[in-house]
């Protein structure tokens, strides 16, 4: 029996490899894997960043885990993207009372204040959806999930994600805007 197992092992590994490849389980995506997608940054001036230009900016990584308004949990996943705070700086910065409008291709809009841009004033939950004291959080415009280009069905190519260093920190999904195509600073 053990002989048979030893003999089968290489074949099993090959099979697993083939299935993993078919399921897209390997490695990070190449540039060709990212779809064409532009982000409009509107602040003091308006500018358009292409997806490659966004990916060339300094990146931040962390765990993201969200929950819907009715308690459905999504995650945790590992995300990589550009800090929202960096993008706001590129748009000319935001004052204390300014608001950040993040909108999406599907007509969704969510509004953040400056504290949130810097990862503050979010509510966080444990696995049982009990509120817990928030650890340090950051907000990124994510383009990568678990080492792969963020899929359209997951809100890609660009999605706002609240990340932390811990995989068990859950944040409210209302901030996780999918399919982001415009970020706008509203002066107060």
């Amino acid at each position: 029996m053990s002989l048979v197992r030893r003999a089968c092992l290489p074949l099993i590994l090959v099979l697993i490899g083939v299935l993993a490849l078919a399921a897209g389980c390997t490695g990070t995506g190449s540039a060709d894997d990212y779809p064409a997608w532009n982000l409009t940054l509107a602040g003091d001036q308006e500018r358009v960043l292409t997806h490659p230009e966004l990916r060339a900016l300094p990146a931040a990584e962390g765990y993201g885990y969200s929950v819907s308004t009715v308690g459905i949990k999504y995650g945790p996943n590992r995300y990589r993207g550009v800090l929202l705070a960096d993008l706001i700086e590129m748009a000319g910065g935001a004052g204390t009372d300014d608001l950040i409008y993040v909108s999406a291709e599907d007509g969704y809009l969510w509004v953040f204040d400056r504290d949130q841009v810097n990862g503050k004033e979010f509510f966080t939950f444990d696995e049982n959806l009990r509120e817990v004291t928030p650890p340090p959080l950051r907000v990124i415009l994510a383009y990568e999930q678990d080492g792969k280009p963020l899929a359209y069905e997951d809100g890609g190519p660009l999605r706002l994600v609240v990340i932390s260093e811990n995989s068990d920190v859950i944040t409210e999904g209302s901030s996780w805007v999918k399919w982001v195509d415009r970020i706008e600073v509203h002066r107060k």
Binding site: V4, T69, Y101, L109, E172
Partner: protein, 344 residues
Amino acid sequence: MNRSPALAVLVLAVFAASAGCTDTGSERTTLMVIPAGSLLAPLEDVEAAFESQHPEIDVRIEGHGSIQAIRQVTDLGREVDVVLVADASLIPDMMYLPMSEGEGNYTDWYVPFAGNEVVVAYTGRSAGADEITAENWYRVLSRPGVRVGFSNPMLDACGYRAIMVTALAEEHYGEPGLFEAVIGGSFNPPITAVRTDGITTIALPERMRPADEKVAVRDGSIYLLSLLDAGGIDYAFEYRSVAEEHGLRWIDLPPPINLGSAEHADDYRRVHVNLGFQRFRSIGSERIGQPIVYAMTVPRNAPHPDEARMFVDFVLDAFREGKAGWPDPVRPDPEAATVYHATD
């Protein structure tokens, strides 16, 4: 043991598993049902009963806020069999519209099946729990040390309904300043209820972020319930069915303000809430008070329209019988169930 048969079995097993062939229920029709959050608990019961009568159908339930439930069909183009919302008016407003793909509207009808009302939910540990009554509730909630929670009006119909109820209470009880004492004064700048030509309008800020600890705003009802349990708030504006389902205490509010009475529809219509921004391109940001009515429809592009209609009929029957912790049936007689068509 020969190597080839073992390998053949392994390969077959792997491919069978990857193809989903091990799922004994693969012959069942999957019915995609998207309800509003406050219907999730009742629909779990309905799902179990329906599947026991129709073992060939697998009901999949995915809860969302009412507007998001509809958007799964309209803006997001998903194939959904039944949509159930906590605000009947959303269906004609958002679905009596031409489909982006295909012919006809997303739907041309809906059927109301239940109603609800806003109550003030609390626990035995809430500040003032031993003295609050249906007569003095607004005075208890007005106290500076009493913490009040409601869900975010941007995200949850119960949230803007909490605002409406509090504004209606100010007029009903003849207590100027009540709205600011319970909710408005906890924001900077304060949120005010402005009366002009018999209409009370409350304009909300873009960010519903209270400036003090008296008021708590959360994304949805379940988070308020969790806060109540933990003692983070003393009172929460909730639907009666939700308070009952979770075993909470609650104060019934008078019909002229609780948004639960069709007879008071004209009173309710006099309160308008302007949300801080237009969250969805597909629906405006003004909400006008009206009785809370749950309704459902089958989208025109539902993949299983016949099974969906069976489910709709089943829901109507189930809600007619009712149960503790469920929204109340709209009408006691199922024969009186009214289907509203686009031409009505």
